[in-house]
Subunit: 238 residues, 2 copies
């Protein structure tokens, strides 16, 4: 199965970290990553129960390091964008759909869970490739952190062995930079740029491209560039 | 959807009761039943968070009352019988299978969760119609109580409206008594009786019989009885 890391971003309560470690181990996951966690003491260990090993081997990382060391990043969020035009938190997958999306794909996958009080912020969500939301009751849709971890781990348990490796984080970032340059080249308006790039990330994030597919897309972009009018130098434009 | 009650049997820690209430509300469930619970104080309310109403409206019942007031009882268990010959905890359904089994059936369904330290005892499991086990890692398959509640509620959320009503508890118990009498009538050995009756309960528990089906089964049993040799009176046998 893909190498899945459970990433808790700035968890506030050590009990939740311990319970999350236990839920992970219950479903066969062992790589816990903590970004600026609260201090972890006896309560975290008590809640982890027989998953103290998961807690002890947890990696502390910055959010940048999380993105750098994982090929695919999934943001879990309880709060959805109001409209499909806002790409940051849309479209989203249910945990069942996430399972289907990860099926067959090999690589390092990070599943990010936000703070107990306000989840992941927009900057963090933007950088993620996929959005996953646990469908809950409209009356009270916000799960406790460790229960959200339990539901996701339950759904992703025992994924079959991967059939192919997905493109690495570096390859994907290089493709996004190429797309950004291409938008420059076609005079894409600056004020729309950020949202368009997030949408590209949402679209391509769902596709789990292989390295070969990434390189074909680069080739197509280059071929389009060759057929464009020569670029004006910034001096000429002034 | 069927009227589903989440039943916690002798929960030991108030935090788990609070978290269970929250997980229930997260997935649209509201009827919590407590059998001899630990005292519930501020910690239960804190863990319930915005599900304090579920906690406040919880019903306290004896285990007998649970069976009497629900048409179908589901035992959740982490510990499985070693062999399919031991019917008490076998065969079992996964939460996904449980969802399929409950689909379409109307009636009062109780889902029982055992104590944090040793689950449901055999006497309690025996009386249940269905067994449900959350598939976990063999290394550490035992979930925290409230996380087990969360996973089951997640799977059973938003069941479609029922298409038919299942036979009531009274009707099913009357059928089991008839089967027991029939076993008497055919000289079924006493030492096998208990296991055979549990197996009948396991088989029929999976079928969600309607009232009409129950009455047809009674009819078939009666028809068989009419064709049997006249019963020896106990005096004659001596």
């Amino acid at each position: 199965m893909p190498e899945i890391s459970i990433v808790l971003v700035e968890p506030l309560y050590e009990g939740n970290v311990g319970f999350a470690a236990r839920a992970m181990k219950n479903f066969g996951f062992s790589h816990l990553v903590l970004v600026s966690p609260c201090p972890l003491g006896p309560q975290a260990r008590a809640c982890a129960s027989h998953a103290a090993d998961v807690l002890e081997h947890a990696d502390e990382m910055t959010i940048e390091q999380v993105f750098d060391t994982h090929d695919l990043a999934v943001a879990t969020t309880g709060e959805l964008s109001k409209s499909v035009c806002r790409s940051i938190r849309m479209p989203y997958s249910t945990p069942k759909e996430l399972r289907e999306q990860l099926q067959g794909a090999g690589g390092r996958v990070a599943i990010l869970f936000g703070r107990e009080n306000w989840g992941l912020n927009n900057t963090e969500v933007e950088r993620c490739d996929l959005i996953c939301t646990i469908p809950g009751s409209p009356e009270y849709p916000i799960l406790n952190l460790s229960h959200a971890v339990a539901v996701i781990c339950y759904e992703l348990a025992d994924l079959p062995p991967p059939q192919y490796r997905i493109a690495s984080r570096e390859e994907m970032e290089c493709l996004y930079r190429h797309l950004d340059l291409m938008l420059d080249r076609v005079d894409h308006p600056a004020h729309k740029r950020r949202n368009t790039l997030i949408m590209m990330r949402r679209i391509l994030g769902r596709t789990r491209l292989t390295t070969r597919e990434v390189s074909t897309l680069h080739g197509l972009l280059r071929r389009a560039e060759w057929h464009m009018e020569p670029e004006h130098s910034p001096d000429e434009e002034k």
